[in-house]
Symmetry: none
């Protein structure tokens, strides 16, 4: 039977470590997104510790308030994994060993030439009537329990186990009853602009859509090194929703171009990779202050071995001279953190690698090493394409890791914008 | 009157934006740390939306379970700031305007040459009997309410307003009644072992401490590429607590050695950096499948320019030959992903850089490129120190980014273990 009343969910992350000052729950973000997709709103999120009695109390209290309760974590084999027991307690269901699950767990150990430890049998215990959610990425199976018109879902804690499992389970157990209305989203990713600058340009465009029928909701979000505009709209017809999102996205891209680097979920490293591959170009990287982060980000993309020819991390002056041919006299005259050295690094690595494109980065990531003229955060990025080159100075702020990240982001964006011109 | 019974707290973050897929609550980490300091354990964390009725219900339910309830957010001037009203509702207290607060808010606007908007008067409403917590960084005052032997604390959402306010309030309102008991922690970080393997060795050692008086609580945690053991104990005397933690940590380290790489909060890259620096060694890196991630992680450490001499990312065979001297015949005979190539990469970069230590990594990060003999996840790591070398094969599983991370982790751990022997 299909219901159109908006349904609500509560998400419970189980794990005492998330009640310490050291860990936050992030699984709930993915779970929320997937629930929103099928029109379910999250009304409450909870983090509970590894205590069977307390967890049972929490689940009981939450079941009275939400149509769907999603628990993550606490499905491991050890004594402090109490989610199965707590849920069985509160629902009054006996736990029974599932022989197929025992087999699944045994086979996972066998594949690694290990014998299944006795404690892992605990992971095959299932509250009577629960539907098993298979876990291709681990030993902990998920569980889906219907109790009256409510759903209780148990998921393993590791994100790479939880995500594909929940994704599949939602389409099997929840989607068919939503009456077709789904939430559709689009994310515009923007780099090289501040949040307030983006909002000043974008608000007059997305603002009116909030009160239209059907509406589009827009959220502006500043995340490390970039701005995101999240557009979402609810509809029963995919074509209508996509057309509406496409219309707003196109207006925003026109107003913000060329700062919008993707509207289809691609990361900056993927966009740069596609631009290189489409032109048959290869890239070489010479990094100082980013310490290999740029190479690592570019090679996070599957298939990047087709266009990343090499990278060199030249922290020392000797390495800059030996590996890139940066003249000692230039280092002495201008200092390692300077425009000519960045340019010489890019040119040097490009000539040696024989690639069409190259990047040179030198800067001061901190916390030490700054001066009045070149404080911590000073970074020079050079891009060389064929015979030409461009160099830019940036003044970043923040801790060491943030400066490294922003510098890698700026370098990719310089490459992207230049390739788009060609 | 002082009480020695360990007290519990619940933390409620108020704000509908934290029930979307885009935002997590992080204020609770700071609040938890400060509460732990004075011996208060957090037993529950909740994120609730901007709905007065629902929030009142949640606060009511939580008050029955915790001695202290800390709410953050929802103290602004607009209609969807409902924390004051919800708390007043559930405690049955009337809201009264505090003239001093009106003055404080008016003065903050005056300082910016603005007139106080009428709606900001809402921020001066206080449940009868509440103690005002001054906010030097904003218009929203915090509130501390005693109800019987329980405390309800209302804090503004922005971290720079919340932190100093809560810090001061805890020392005034909570610390005097704790009899000096505080929580002390230690974290053992372990790499190269599975969670169940670590637990099998560690449980017999930490298990008995859970029921001793005074006790130590232990949590085992699997995070990307490593295992953590979190130990915590409560005591009035710092020396006693530290001695107790030191005793258990030493027993665990002895049983797990050399897999424990730190018990003082240091990351693996910091530990490796300290080992190198202490010996006056420098390191050079030759990376293929990790694509610069190892160099990037090592250079995340402040001061790493003292010992990271260079890194090369040799994705192509040509780069392996040109930059590292890996013979073409070796690449043809054994393939780029092989034990001899890993060894030749390490030796090649070490000789060229003139460092004491070097690493060579070659493998298949996926998703493509695997074969039956060398499936995705096959990684060879070679470490060369002075004239000697060691090579190890690893078979990792997971997506590309995870394989890269695990390979960088394994390489650092090989370096660490070998340096410890010397």
């Amino acid at each position: 039977m299909s219901t159109r009343r908006p349904r609500t969910a509560a998400i419970i992350a189980v794990g005492s470590e998330m009640l310490t000052p050291f860990r936050v729950d992030t699984n709930s973000l993915y779970v929320t997104e997937r629930l929103n997709d099928v029109g379910v709103q999250v009304s409450l999120k909870i983090v509970a510790g590894d205590n069977r009695g307390e967890l049972a109390e929490v689940v009981g209290a939450v079941l009275a308030r939400a149509d769907i309760v999603v628990l993550s974590g606490g499905l491991g084999p050890t004594d402090d994994d109490v989610t199965r027991d707590a849920v069985a307690d509160v629902l009054g269901l006996p736990l029974e060993e599932d022989p197929e699950l025992v087999e699944h767990i045994r086979r996972r150990f066998e594949a690694r030439r290990l014998e299944m430890p006795a404690i892992n049998r605990r992971q095959a215990l299932v509250p009577r009537g629960a539907i098993r959610l298979d876990n291709p990425n681990g030993t902990a199976a998920g569980l889906w329990i219907r109790t009256g018109d409510r759903h209780v879902v148990l998921l393993p804690g590791p994100p790479r186990e939880l995500k594909p499992m929940f994704d599949r389970a939602v389409s099997v157990h929840l989607e068919p009853s939503t009456g077709g209305a789904r939430v559709y989203r689009r994310v515009l990713r923007i780099t090289g602009r501040s949040e307030s600058h983006v909002d000043a340009l974008a608000q007059p465009i997305y603002g009116p859509w909030a009160s239209r029928q059907p509406s589009i909701e827009t959220t502006i979000l500043a995340v490390q090194g970039q701005i995101e505009l999240h557009l979402s709209t609810s509809d029963e017809r995919v074509a209508e929703a996509e057309a509406r999102l496409g219309q707003l996205a196109a207006s925003l891209e026109a107003a913000l171009a060329p700062a919008v680097y993707s509207s289809d979920g691609r990361t900056l490293e993927e966009v740069v990779g596609h631009l290189l591959a489409a032109r048959g170009y290869r890239i070489a990287l010479a990094e100082s202050c980013t310490g290999g982060l740029l190479a690592s980000r570019l090679t996070d993309v599957a298939g990047s071995s087709a266009y990343v020819e090499r990278g060199v991390v030249t922290y020392s002056n000797e390495a800059k001279t030996a590996l890139l041919g940066v003249p000692e006299s230039m280092l002495a005259e201008h200092g390692a953190v300077s425009e000519p050295v960045a340019a010489a690094m890019a040119t040097g690595v490009r000539e040696r690698a024989g690639t069409e494109v190259a990047v040179g980065i030198t800067g001061i990531a901190g916390p030490g090493g700054g001066s009045v003229e070149k404080p911590v955060g000073t970074v020079f990025v050079a891009v060389a394409i064929s015979g030409e080159q461009r160099v830019q100075r940036f003044d970043f702020v923040g801790p060491r890791s943030h400066i490294k990240y922003q510098a890698s982001q700026a370098a990719m964006d310089m490459v992207r914008r230049w390739l788009l011109e060609r």
